[in-house]
């Protein structure tokens, strides 16, 4: 039996609730992600997908409803507890890699562990292990400016992976990449996923989404539809997504 790594229940989010123009971004979202799944969330701009991601990533709190990650309800944490939770349980991959230019690859990857105040020796070991997984162990002493786009992505992925998070969140991680580099990153993510790490990707790009195993479509703050790769080839799944989008967005 697989365990649930993310479980959201009737999530609502209203911005400016007491203001003159309250705006309901999420209107009751319920879904779950199983351990080791690779799930995509798709939707047009303004559909509420980023709001949903922010709530799951403890960067925002819902107006009502609950989010459990790895069995822990994260909707009632204090600001500090939220920060600690992120550093221990969550991994992030950003649109522009967001590597710190003044730190070496090794130091960049080590950041989440440093934030947990892990011992230096332990940190170094974990960094080397993560780097090895992504095939960048010979680049550790280099600065980001000395790395190619693809190498930078792998460093960013290693940083997301290093603290053994329960789940990795990606917010349009290919948004700023050319097709070759985007492809490389998605392959890397697939590779990480195959090693048992759960991934949740927010995107509006069908190509990126086709690497996922399951896709949730959000429209106007609600889950409108859901499709499963179900053993289809990536290409077939891609076609299915395109079809779905064609009918879904209308």
């Amino acid at each position: 039996m697989t365990t649930e790594i993310v479980r959201t229940k009737d999530l609502h989010k209203t911005y400016d609730q007491n203001g003159p123009k309250p705006y309901e971004a999420l209107k009751g979202i319920t879904f779950s992600v199983q351990q080791g799944e690779f799930v995509g969330i798709m939707g047009a701009s303004g559909s509420g997908k980023t709001t949903l991601l922010n709530i799951m990533a403890t960067l925002d709190q819902p107006t009502s409803g609950s989010v459990e990650i790895d069995g822990k309800d994260v909707t009632n944490l204090t600001a500090n507890q939220m920060s600690d939770f992120r550093s221990e349980k969550l991994g992030f991959i950003f649109q522009d890699f967001n590597l710190l230019e003044t730190l070496t690859a090794q130091e960049n990857i080590a950041l989440p562990l440093s934030l947990q105040n892990k011992k230096a020796g332990e940190t170094k070991q974990s960094v080397e292990a993560a780097a090895k997984k992504l095939g960048i162990d010979d680049l550790l002493s280099k600065y980001p400016t000395q790395l190619s786009g693809g190498q930078k992505q792998r460093v960013a992925a290693a940083r997301a992976l290093v603290a053994n998070p329960s789940i990795i969140f990606g917010d349009e991680p290919t948004g700023a990449l050319d097709s070759t580099n985007a492809r490389e990153l998605l392959d890397t993510l697939t590779n990480i996923n195959q090693q048992g790490v759960s991934i949740l990707l927010v995107t509006h790009d069908p190509f990126s989404a086709s690497f996922c195993k399951r896709i949730l479509f959000i429209k106007d703050g609600k889950i409108g539809d859901e499709i499963d790769a179900d053993g289809k080839s990536r290409n077939e799944f891609y076609q299915q997504i395109l079809e779905k989008l064609g009918t879904f967005e209308q």
């Binding site: 960067l59 992120r86 550093s87 967001n98 710190l100 989440p112 440093s114 934030l115 600065y143």
Partner: protein, 609 residues
């Protein structure tokens, strides 16, 4: 239309503009303060150094104008870093770059002129406040000085207008050359390259050696004479640059190599600081040198003031000598705290050209006289005068007593006689009241009231150049000489400090916008808000404290020039206090910078519990 767009731009970012605006206002106010003295020829040339003071102020004005220019550019960079995205958007929407250029110039000028006007008003207030405070603190009446001075208003207005026009044109030019796309995506990565170890080491050694040579030159000024100043200037400027560019970076690298750098955000903090120091080497060097100049000016200024009571104390043990004091004088004397007084009887006999005193009184209450034990260090001692000393016209004791008599009797011979002889002299018996005070500065207001009454009592003789006598007379005389010098020193120092700290502040703040994404990322990967705030506080502290430390060391050695040339005494004590006061002002700037920076870069947690 243009104006409307511009205005709405300002409105939408009112808080950020407020920072910029208040910074500009303070800069204008400081410059005005300085000009209020500098353009006032009557005031500067009436000082004892006369024409020389004018040159000092012309030099100071130019220096301040240069710093102001730098400041205006940094402040404008800060402004532009906030507006880049908007301008890029306007251009994407089809606005011509010419229109945008006009917009930029218009915005820069509107903000500039508004802040200049308010700044001048503020400057008049500052000038009034500070000059009032200083003149009461150092007991110098500021004649020919007024807080509102039209030529100062003009020179401030013209300078700032010119600066803003230049800044506007330069900004506009930069924008014309940048494509809309680049403007929209202006948060480019910094081009950090790890400096080569060997270059770093060589530069660090060269920097330290140059500083050492400079410091030694100042220390050995007696030997090197004017050459010391030349050597000092060149080696210290270059040395400071190299030390920032390499030595501090090397130290930070050493810290980074230690295991502590893996705790929290230490590694990030140190590496950012390292990057900033190398990126800001020039401004940090300038700040450090100006810090030294400003602190030096204040120290020397205050040093002169501190010397005044010491010089006065060595001149006479008694502050004033009152012959036949009026009841008003007596009541004024009664009001002085911590005084001791003594009264002698005196008879004046013009026929024998003598002033007679009872020897018995001098035996019962010995007359005290002051004499320097170390003229160079202004150390003096007070001793009881023996009768033999008081009879010897060549003795210091005799001269001291003579100095305390009225100007009318000072040319007569002092004779100490027995009571019998004294009683036989056919003249009116006067009383001579001698007053000693513990703290001349504290008693200065009362003492000057007393001496005013004395002047009236003695009439013409005083105006003929013979003073009322006593240590307080010396004190007042020296205050006149050094007071305005001190006033200028302190004024100059504070103006410089405020300006350089503002410069540093805006240079740092203008980098905040590009730091935003870094802090957002750190927040997402789980850095607590307190950890982020601490990292900012440490980074900015490094940028503030390193130039200050170097500046303080510069002054510590620079003072040797004054000490060796016997110009200043007790300099290091003064230095300690002024460095402390100076550092407090400087720290206030630091605090404000950290606050604003944190507000810009630390992401607000959406739900605070």
């Amino acid at each position: 239309m243009l104006f409307k767009i511009s205005l709405s731009g300002v409105k939408s970012r009112w808080k950020d503009y407020l920072v910029l605006f208040s910074g500009m206002m303070i800069t204008t106010a400081i410059f005005y303060m300085f000009e209020a003295i500098s353009t006032n020829d009557k005031f500067t040339t009436s000082s004892p150094v006369g024409q020389n003071a004018k040159f000092v102020f012309i030099f100071g004005s130019i220096l301040l104008a240069i710093i102001t220019l730098v400041y205006v550019f940094y402040a404008n960079n800060f402004l532009m870093s906030m507006r880049k995205h908007d301008y890029g958007l306007f251009m994407m929407l089809g606005a011509k770059s010419k229109v945008i250029s006009k917009l930029i110039i218009l915005e820069t000028l509107v903000i500039g002129l508004a802040s200049t006007f308010v700044g001048i008003i503020l400057g008049v207030g500052f000038t009034k406040g500070l000059s009032g405070l200083l003149s009461s603190q150092i007991h110098v009446p500021l004649t020919n000085f007024s807080a509102f001075y039209m030529p100062a208003v003009w020179s401030t207005l013209i300078l700032f207008l010119v600066l803003f026009v230049i800044a506007g044109l330069v900004n506009a030019r930069t924008f014309m050359k940048t494509s809309a796309l680049n403007l929209l995506r202006s948060n480019q990565e910094s081009d950090w390259k790890d400096p080569k170890k060997r270059t770093l080491f060589v530069q660090a050694v060269v920097g330290l050696v140059l500083l050492a040579i400079g410091y030694y030159a100042m220390y050995d000024i007696n030997h090197l004479q004017l050459l010391a100043i030349g050597i000092g200037l060149i080696t210290i400027v270059l040395g400071t640059y190299f030390v920032f560019n390499s030595f501090f970076v090397m130290i930070l690298e050493a810290v980074q190599r230690s295991n502590t750098s893996y705790k929290g955000l230490n590694n990030f903090t140190i590496s950012q600081l390292k990057f900033r120091i190398r990126d800001y080497t020039k401004i940090l060097s300038v700040v450090s040198l100006l810090f030294a100049l400003a602190l030096g000016a204040i120290t020397v200024g205050i040093g002169f003031q501190r010397m005044v009571p010491m010089m006065a104390a060595g001149n006479n043990a008694y502050a004033v000598g009152l012959t036949n004091p009026s009841p008003k004088m007596k009541s004024l004397v009664g009001g002085i705290d911590g005084k001791t007084q003594v009264t002698y009887q005196q008879k004046v006999d013009p026929s024998t050209k003598s002033v007679y005193y009872r020897a018995s009184q001098f035996e019962a209450q010995p007359f005290k006289y002051a004499h320097f034990t170390n003229q160079a260090q202004l150390k003096s001692k007070i001793d009881n005068a023996s009768l033999t000393q008081l009879k010897d016209r060549a003795s210091t004791a005799y001269a001291s007593l003579n100095n305390l008599q009225t100007p009318l009797t000072r040319s007569l011979r002092i004779r100490l006689v027995s009571d019998t002889t004294f009683n036989q002299i056919n003249a009116k018996a006067n009383t001579l009241l001698l007053v000693r005070v513990k703290d001349m500065d504290a008693a200065a207001t009362t003492l000057s009231k007393i001496t005013n009454l004395q002047t009236r009592q003695y009439g013409k003789k005083v105006s003929e150049g013979l003073g009322v006598g006593g240590a307080f007379e010396t004190y007042q005389l020296l205050k006149g000489v050094f007071g305005s010098l001190e006033f200028m020193g302190i004024f100059l120092g504070i103006a410089f400090l405020a300006m350089l700290a503002s410069c540093l502040m805006f240079k740092i703040l203008s980098g905040a916008a590009s730091d935003k994404t870094r802090f957002e990322m750190l927040n997402k990967i789980g850095a607590r808000k307190s950890v982020l705030n601490r990292s900012i506080a440490v980074q900015i502290l490094g940028l503030f404290i390193l130039p200050a430390v170097l500046g303080i060391i510069d002054v510590a050695f620079g003072l040797q020039m004054f000490i060796k040339a016997n110009l200043l005494h007790g300099a290091y004590q003064t230095f300690g206090w002024s460095a402390l006061g100076f550092s407090i002002l400087y720290l206030i700037y630091y605090g404000i910078t950290v606050m604003i920076y944190s507000k810009i870069v630390v992401p607000q947690t959406k739900v605070e519990k």
